[in-house]
């Protein structure tokens, strides 16, 4: 794959523009995945994908042939997503879902029982998670998504965000703290509910 990418890049730089279409086809899915995880919005994610490949094409001359194109374009995608988040923050357009949207995927909790109370809790957790994510700064949000969901190392996060590794680590810490503060009360009540349910079952 890497050799293919390098060959395609050489063709693009030699004037064969359409070869870039193949690179877009190879990497668009992974770019969309990370863009959606950060923005949590399909339209924004599509915008990030387009902007990523546009920037990638314009900076292709600066691409170091020794590095991996996938990693390179991933970093560009992170920066594009960061720009989108900054734009949303500046315009106060952070989409915080107050009402549960049935089309959106739900949080998967460990308990398999899907009673009415369980569904209600899932909706509440998702709403709170979204709200908590909306309260994170763009850097914290991206750092958390990269660390927690994409399972990237601190060095990779730092490299993508252009900050020191310690700053990236602190961003993850701050994000986790905020999420915990937001979700912990809900989780405690959920545990209490489970305990009550188990006690009732034992009594019967």
């Amino acid at each position: 794959m890497r050799n293919d990418d390098c060959a395609l890049i050489r063709r693009v730089l030699a004037g064969e523009k359409d070869a870039y279409g193949l690179l877009v086809a190879h990497h668009s899915q992974s770019v969309f995945r990370v863009a959606f995880r950060i923005t949590e919005n399909q339209a924004d994610a599509d915008e990030v994908v387009q902007e990523t490949f546009l920037r990638g094409y314009r900076k292709l001359q600066d691409f170091d042939a020794r590095s991996n194109f996938g990693t390179w374009v991933y970093r560009i995608a992170i920066n594009c997503a960061l720009d989108v988040l900054h734009k949303q923050k500046s315009q106060n357009l952070v989409p915080i879902a107050e009402e549960y949207d049935s089309e959106l995927p739900t949080v998967q909790v460990a308990d398999g029982a899907a009673g009415p109370d369980r569904l209600l809790l899932s909706r509440e957790i998702e709403t709170r998670r979204r709200a908590a994510m909306g309260q994170l700064t763009p850097i914290e949000r991206i750092a958390f998504v990269m660390r927690h969901l994409e399972e990237r190392s601190t060095e990779e996060i730092a490299g993508a965000l252009g900050v020191a590794p310690n700053a990236a680590k602190q961003a993850v810490f701050r994000a986790v703290k905020k999420l915990r503060q937001s979700l912990a009360p809900l989780w405690v009540s959920h545990e209490a509910l489970n305990r009550r349910r188990n006690d009732r079952a034992l009594l019967l």
Binding site: A14, D18, G21, V24, F36, V49, Q50, H148, F173
Partner: protein
């Protein structure tokens, strides 16, 4: 070990702390921390990503279609030569200009500078001759004075007087030859006379007695020679002054 902080728990959860084993041992030993960490990790594990909407296999093509209109094809890069002809010509022109400037500077310097050592100039040569002669006569005069007063001081003349006479003798021979070539009879006669006196003093052996000196004074007429030398020194001094005045006039 103290109880785990929230940051330590976060680091441990993401396997980023440097002392993993130490934290693990603490968690096994401390029930309070173990419980807190269990709650913490359970919460974090349940924060999962929203499912990513599926994008079909044509998604890449769609993205490409949407952006390709705004992209300009790259121009094929030409291979760069280290020295192309225009660059070479430019470098050669610069080199030529520098060489020209260097030679022009040298010619200009030659044309406008005055030689510091003008060995060929007769005035300068004359000044040097006068200076050397004046110095020679000065030393000879002191020797003769010493010689004239040595007769009554003791039995023997000290060794430095003879050594000085030997040194002056070799110089005097050269000056005398030069004076003979320059057709200066007065100078030639004085130097000849001086040479004979110096020869006598230098070759008298180490034990030059007062009697020997008295003999030399009478035979060689050292008093007369001293007078001659003083006259010559006065003439040399005058010539030096004239030469100095001429030099000043030439410079202005």
């Amino acid at each position: 070990m103290k109880h785990l902080t929230e940051e330590e728990m976060i680091g441990h959860f993401y396997s980023e702390d440097l002392c993993q084993a130490e934290v693990e041992i603490h968690l096994q030993a401390c029930r309070q921390c173990a419980h807190a960490y269990e709650e913490f990790s359970k919460l974090l594990r349940n924060v999962q990503a929203p499912g990513v909407p599926l994008r079909g296999t044509e998604y890449g093509a769609q993205v490409w279609q949407s952006i390709q209109g705004s992209l300009q094809p790259y121009r094929p890069m030409r291979k760069r030569r280290i020295f192309s002809w225009p660059q070479f010509a430019y470098a050669a022109a610069c080199l030529l200009f520098l060489a020209g400037a260097f030679w022009a500077g040298r010619f200009w310097e030659h044309a406008h500078s005055k030689p510091l050592v003008a060995g060929g100039e007769p005035q300068t040569k004359q000044r040097v001759v006068l200076f050397v002669l004046d110095n020679h006569f000065d030393r000879s005069e002191r020797l003769l004075i010493h010689l004239n007063h040595a007769g009554g001081e003791g039995d023997y003349v000290d060794f430095p007087l003879q050594a000085e006479a030997q040194q002056l003798l070799s110089d005097n021979q050269l000056y005398r030859q030069s004076a003979a070539q320059a057709n200066d009879p007065l100078l030639d006669a004085a130097l000849d006379h001086l040479e004979r006196v110096l020869l006598e003093v230098a070759n008298s052996g180490h034990q030059l007695t007062s009697r020997d000196i008295a003999g030399i004074q009478q035979e060689m007429n050292t008093q007369g020679l001293l007078f001659q030398i003083r006259i010559l020194r006065a003439r040399i001094s005058e010539q030096k002054t004239n030469a100095h005045a001429m030099r000043k006039g030439a410079n202005t």
